[in-house]
Amino acid sequence: QDYTPDPDAQQGGAITITYKDDVATLDPAIGYDWQNWSMIKSIFDGLMDYVPGTTELRPGLAESYEISEDGLTYTFKLRDGVTFHNGRAMTAEDVKYSLDRVTAPETQSPGAGFFGAIEGYDAAASGEAEELSGVKVIDDRTVEITLTRPDATFLHVMALNFASVVPQEAVEAAGGDFGKEPVGTGAFKLGEWTIGQRLVFEKFEDHWREGVPYLDQITFEVGQEPIVALLRLQNGEVDVPGDGIPPAKFVEVMNDPAQAERVVEGGQLHTGYITLNTQIPPFDDVKVRQAVNMAINKDRIIQIINGRAVPANQPLPPTMPGYTEGPDGYAYDIEAARALLAEAGHEDGFETELYVMNTDPNPRIAQAIQQDLSQIGIDASIQSLAQANVIAAGGEADQAPMIWSGGMAWIADFPDPSNFYGPILGCAGAVPGGWNWSWYCNEELDAMAAEADAMADPAQAEARLGKWSDVYMKVMEDAPWVPVFNEQRYTMKSERMGGDDALYVDPVSIPVNYDYVYVTEQ
């Protein structure tokens, strides 16, 4: 099931990639942004990894792993001959150190919560314990991790950036600035970093995976407006615009065959949805929520974003395992919606607010939603705010009746259906400051979700996905969300870029899998 290397691949060469926003940090315990996610993936490795361009797991720094009968103990056998960029060989101690570090409160890692299943997590996260009691170094090459509950997603967690292995001495030497002086085991090492201008990644010659990477050097130029990045791409100065094709240029690019040819399209583990706050009347009435679901003209919204998405009818995107084929969800039907609303006692409609993040195209989508709602008498005023303010409003029980998730939308951390549930639909997220902006809490579903995640045995994988499918279908009955669309990623590459298209729309190594792309001419 492993990856077959591209036979045409060539070694060497340097490429240039642009991003609008600056790279905040390259510390794997902290980085959680669009642009640094894939960079960190190239500098660091975790025990687990994915087959390039797919959502399939494969062993990373771990050569192999064993799961105990009860699904509570994972024993990872580490690869031999893995060295850090500083030349030191990686050992099991490093793995333990890295996991201790990411869960320690001083690190303030936004990913710490992913490790909640590991034994001793609570003590470590609250600062009571120095280390995770569940992570044990058996010998130089072996690590044993004990969980408090079976967790089917645990291997995915170990493939997250947050689980990357870092050398203790380098972290300590950097004194808090590890994010600016990263040292890992990855295919690239950081060469030069001029803040606000560029980062240069250089090929790590001693990388443990033979023949990878292909490129000698990658230059990331930051602070580049996407439109300008595209101009530079057209001018041959840039190889990949990291932020993709700007909406303003999309039609132009697609209408030009020469350029359209170089456009890469791919699915994403993404769903754009509207949250309906189940604590705020009248959205506490399921009929109202269903009516709203029926009132949204998803095709029109997709037209507005130039057709760069497919309509959604459930929380999971189609490319996600566990996606339920078949049901159409709530069809667009204004009459039915009106009727339902009348049934709920709102024949004259009502007034409410729709929160949205203020970057294009989100306010536009919100306006389309607003118009759709007005068709059934709902008068939604738009609150177009900075991301931080929308998030803050969503985290209060009584603040935001409706939020359009775009711009902050759920792009899965890992390709598993559970990732769309916990914090955003489960009871755990329906707390002040939480991310369950619908404030939807269904104990029964929570129990079902827990059950599904406990089915860690690979043999039960099918059954587990079925269970998840049921969970999401049940969620849709309660309609705390209006799933609107699943975005397709469109990006471009320069003529000389080689490698499978999937590498440019990698579902995990978003947006580009740097390790496996190459240039055809230099």
Binding site: K249, I382, L385, A386
Partner: protein, 303 residues
């Protein structure tokens, strides 16, 4: 600086007993350019007020036939005179409705800023002493704030609404006016005719209103008319940050900001609202220039 050696036009009317019409308004009306500016301003105001009757569309109508199949806006055509925007709304309609917001921002908010700036600058310049010093230090403090940041904080703390935005813009924009008028007032206050007024027993109010203010009119006009564009665009920046006028309420500024990345694909979306801002600012400037000349007797005989 040319030398005038020309002779008088033949048949020029004989000098009449000169008692010029006292009304500045009457003199203003004799100037074609001023009149032109005034007409444009009135047209804008009329357009804003009569928008519902002037266009068959609603400003928020996202029309089905307003977008191409691929979701691109339509260029100006017979049905949509100025084209449509990214949501398939009629641009002309949005510009007409947008005039409401932009007039409030560009004229009212900017006007308030001008008034605050004038009051503070002039009183600090005229009264000196502790009072003036305190006012000026306050102005310096306000000036040291990056204006945009202050606006963002203020607007984020209050719930965004048109009037809050107008207020925020007024609060942010008075500073430069105050600073400039302060300097001018200090030198005016030193002039002998002000001393002469004092010896006549004129009170502060009279001196300020009748003798200092008229001399500041040119500066106030320059800053006021230039401020129109700046404030209209500042409102747009705030909208863009989510703390201005909320969508779908149109304003000229936010039409530009929403669409500026599309200016190559759909230039009409930026050009028309931009032209509207420019024309409004220019009209006020034409009117203001004329007003200034009318109020400045040394400039007479130049029309």
């Amino acid at each position: 600086m040319s030398d005038t050696t020309g002779t008088l036009p033949p048949g020029a009317p004989p000098p009449v007993a000169r008692r010029a019409p006292r009304g500045a308004l009457a003199r203003l009306m004799r100037r074609k350019l001023a009149l032109f500016g005034l007409v444009l301003i009135l047209l804008t105001v009329a357009g804003a007020l009569l928008a519902p009757w002037l266009t068959p569309y609603d400003s928020n109508d996202q029309m089905f036939d307003g977008l191409t199949i691929t979701g691109a806006p339509l260029p100006p055509n017979a049905e949509f005179w100025l084209g449509t925007d990214l949501l398939g709304r009629d641009l002309l309609t949005r510009i007409l409705y947008g005039a409401r917001t932009s007039l409030i921002i560009g004229v009212v908010a900017n006007g308030i800023a001008l008034v605050i700036g004038t009051v503070i600058g002039v009183s600090a310049g005229y009264f000196r002493g502790v009072f003036g010093a305190v006012l000026m230090r306050f102005t310096d403090l306000m000036m040291a704030f990056p204006a945009l940041l202050l606006a963002i904080c203020l607007a984020a703390i209050f719930q965004p609404s048109l009037w809050i935005v107008a207020m925020v813009i007024a609060i942010v924009n008075w500073v430069q006016t105050a600073r400039v008028l302060y300097t001018e007032t200090t030198s005016l206050a030193e002039r002998e005719f002000i001393a002469a007024e004092k010896t006549l027993g004129a009170g502060h109010a009279r001196i300020l209103l009748r003798h200092i203010l008229p001399h500041l009119v040119p500066t106030i006009i320059v800053w006021g008319t230039l401020g129109i564009s700046t404030t209209v665009l500042l409102e747009a920046t705030l909208s863009f940050l989510g703390i201005g006028v909320q969508p779908p309420t149109p304003s000229w500024g936010n039409i530009i900001f929403e669409n500026q990345t599309y200016f190559q694909a759909a230039p009409w979306l930026v050009f028309f609202p931009g032209a509207a801002i420019l024309i409004l600012a220019l009209s006020f400037n034409l009117l203001g220039d004329a007003l200034r000349d009318v109020l400045d007797p040394t400039q007479r005989g130049r029309d």
